[in-house]
């Protein structure tokens, strides 16, 4: 169907909201509580627009696009209202971006930038809620929370862990874990979905803090090395230190739709661990000593040949691996079947 936004004719799909149609056509409208995955919440009112024939401002995340609709997202009225919302959010938290983990990736910052808000027009007294550092992998700074409710929806309807909720009343309302426990003492399983969904820097990866700015990190999509679900993840890597800094679930991956578990998201320390094997080792008199690849390979090849000649190829056994790639399992069984000449190959799938 055709609709008009800011004088531009665009094509909208049946079932799309005004916000979705606008975003799909490259027209930005500030929005904070809406996220593709959890849908419209109608909470933040940052997304208000004018629609011809409708009275007052409309939240574009909840109004469906209709044939021939005429929408204005940046009329003075709409802009003023959007500014008011964002200004209020900035005023009621500590949005000092300099050391914030989310700097450069913050949807509140994006909205303020778009609306040209330099600094909040008022600052409501001292805002000093306690930081929650009790969780192993997640850091919660309620001073930056804008009460958009995305984390609550994510925890309850996406990963369905039912830990997060809003608690307390009135302007004391804040996110709580279980019955207002510290995150680390709650039933949270540290899947990090709330981290991934929070539009600001209120819930962040604890161990990534201070380790690299988003724009300095290389992003590489790959597959989780743990269970057989095969969640797609995006590694954020500091190329200077050759270290993985953090992991995001890939939102449009058909397998996991951005979700991960605590291992896939936070269990990557082994990759850069100091105990990694870095050189071949050969045992001599019960002790390992370092060896060159040439020496190690020559030893393996000659020993395999010797045992094959002396006892037969079927006295050699290979264990393939459920943790290495298809390509590497293929070359392994090919090595056994062609170079050694046995079908003695198995793996630990059943163990």
């Amino acid at each position: 169907m055709k609709i008009t936004i800011n004088g531009k004719n665009i094509e909208a799909r049946e079932g799309q909201t005004i916000l979705q149609a606008a975003l799909a056509n490259g027209i930005y409208i500030p929005h904070l509580c809406y996220h593709e995955k959890i849908g419209a919440a109608g909470k933040c009112r940052a997304c208000v627009v004018e629609v011809e024939g409708m009275r007052g401002l409309q939240t574009s995340c909840s109004v469906m696009a209709k044939e021939d609709m005429v929408v204005n997202t940046c009329s003075q009225n709409a802009l003023n209202a959007q500014k008011l919302v964002i200004d209020l959010m900035l005023s009621s938290g500590t949005h000092d971006c300099l050391a914030c983990e989310q700097n450069g990736n913050c949807e509140l910052q994006d909205a303020a930038y778009f609306l040209g808000i330099e600094r909040p027009s008022v600052q409501y007294g001292e805002i000093n809620r306690e930081f929650d550092t009790s969780s192993e992998f997640v850091y919660v700074e309620r001073n930056k929370c804008i009460s958009c409710g995305r984390c609550v929806a994510a925890c309850n309807t996406t990963v369905v862990n039912q830990v997060l909720d809003f608690g307390h009343r009135g302007h004391h309302t804040e996110i709580v874990f279980d019955t207002d426990k510290k995150m680390g003492e709650s039933s949270c399983v540290q899947c990090g979905e709330c981290v991934q969904m929070c539009p600001v820097g209120a819930i962040v990866d604890k161990n990534a803090r201070g380790k690299g700015r988003l724009w300095d990190l290389k992003k590489v999509e790959t597959v989780c090395p743990y269970c057989g679900v095969g969640c797609k993840l995006e590694l954020h890597v500091n190329e200077k230190t050759n270290k993985i800094i953090k992991v995001r679930g890939v939102e449009d991956a058909p397998v996991n739709k951005g979700m991960l578990c605590v291992k896939g998201r936070y269990g990557f320390d082994f990759v850069g661990h100091p105990d990694r094997l870095t050189t071949p080792l050969i045992k001599e008199n019960g002790q390992f000593r370092e060896a060159s690849w040439e020496e190690a390979i020559a030893l393996v090849a000659s020993k395999m040949t010797e045992i094959k000649d002396k006892f037969g190829a079927d006295t050699i056994m290979g264990l393939a691996s459920a943790k290495v790639t298809n390509e590497e399992n293929y070359t392994f069984q090919k090595l056994f079947r062609t170079a050694i000449g046995t079908n003695n190959i198995d793996h630990c799938a059943r163990l």
Binding site: T157, V160, V189, C191, V220, E221, T222, V223, C224, Y226, C227, G228, V229, G230, K232, L235, D252, P254, M259, C261, K263, Y266, G267, F268, V271, G272, H273, D275, L277, P280, I282, W293, I297, A298, V300, A301, K303, I307, K310, D314, T315, M317, L319, A320, S321, A322, K323, T325, N326, E328, N329, Y330, T331, F332, A339, N343, D346, H347, C348, A349
Partner: protein, 527 residues
Amino acid sequence: MTNDINGIKSSDVALIIGSDTTEAHPVISARLKQAVIEGKTKLIVIDPKKIKLADFAAIYASQRPGTDVAVMNGMMHIILKNGWEDKEFIANRVEPEGFEALKKEVEKFTPEYVEKISGIPAKTLEEIAELFGKAKAAAIYYAMGITQHTTGVDNVKSTANLQMLCGNMGIPGGGVNPLRGQSNVQGACDMGGLPNVYTAYQQVANADAQAKMENYWKVKLNNKPGKPMTVAFDDAYEGKMKAFYIMGENPMISDPDLHHAEEALKKLEFLVVEDIFMTETAKFAHVVLPASTYAEKEGTFSNTERRVQKLNPAVKAPGSALHDWEIHQLIANKMGLNWNYTKAEDIFNEIRAVTPSYAGMTYDRIGRYGLHWPCPTTEHPGTPVLHVGKFTKGLGTMFPIPFKDPAELPDAEFPTYLTTGRILQHFHTGTMSRKSEGLNNLAGPHVMISVEDAERIGVKNSEMVKVTTRRGSITTKAFITKRIPNGTAFVPFHFWEAPANQLTNNALDPIAKIPEYKVCACKLERA
């Protein structure tokens, strides 16, 4: 899995049996929970442990460990008695002899008889059978709780019987769906990491397959199927197996009988271990070869739903560590062959050439979203749901499966069932997850015991308990929980400090040679 992950939401009913999904396959569990809260899907959970998914289940039942065949036979008994089976499916898609034999076998599995064996109240079983039998599309999900038994193959066949009986094969939201435990178990099998098959399950003993591979590899091949790992360990113990080459596995934690495994490895003339850390197994090696992790390499993994997905390198491997395939190429060439792979994609293209189910995939086509095998041609979209309209071999076969007790049952001396498995925070033998301080802080070794057993032996939470079986004993912290039924204990197998596999029974399934990790008898004492 015969079906795909995205199809979970098409199920009217999902039966979870022998899988603590929330702990071992958390993201599948999230998908199942979503389906439930959205109101489409009803869950049936059958597990000795009251797993987290039981909280979302329409019906939960706790069976005695090792009685799954009886439970499923009982469900089929009730379904047949009430005429809830899919008559059309049975008439068109399964061999009539098998169906008749199955019908005869399940006749004696009345709800009362099954209650005696499994402990599931007859009435509950009736409810389960009704919900499952009347569902339009019902799926079964299982994991090692079905396979790690001396009757593992029987259990798997029972799930297939049930799904054919109810016409749940080849439809969205149906299927028999084993949840694979490791990132590339599926791929390791697909690639011929098994003693009896080349890639895509082409039999080594089949002359045509042999000729095809000989022609491709230009070498004479051995047509004698090889030894499964469990048998190879026995042979090594007896001095008949001389060398082992172990890539990225740690049997010194995962083997069913660790003393036996240790003796076996010590008797070898030559042991090569290719891994990323000095594992418990690598310590016994004569040569250790440093390899790379998932984050360092290019290649593909095949997940539990047969989706082939691409890995891309993000960091550089430390020191002189190589990719596993580079190591294999060095050895092959040193042994006189002439391999010339320059990158993982070269190998993938060779895989495509000899593997019909992968033939249509290219790195380009796999792209960011992956492809399900079988994917025979480069135009083929991949196959998310198997067995639509027809089984690969034509008609499906049902098997009459008699019930057999587990190899070891509780008795006066060892009165408690012991079962083992995974927990969320750790993985397999711990080679990867236990290198994370955070994950270690979240969960350490423990034994889960019931409130009643804790009272009986006089321990409180976090106090030490000695768990003893006929094979050994470990001492570890008590984790007392209402989720475990009286008379059962659960030990996670990730921890070298309290290795579950010093306790487990290495009795094997006669066909699959899988050890019975899920049931044995133990004694609990205050330590």
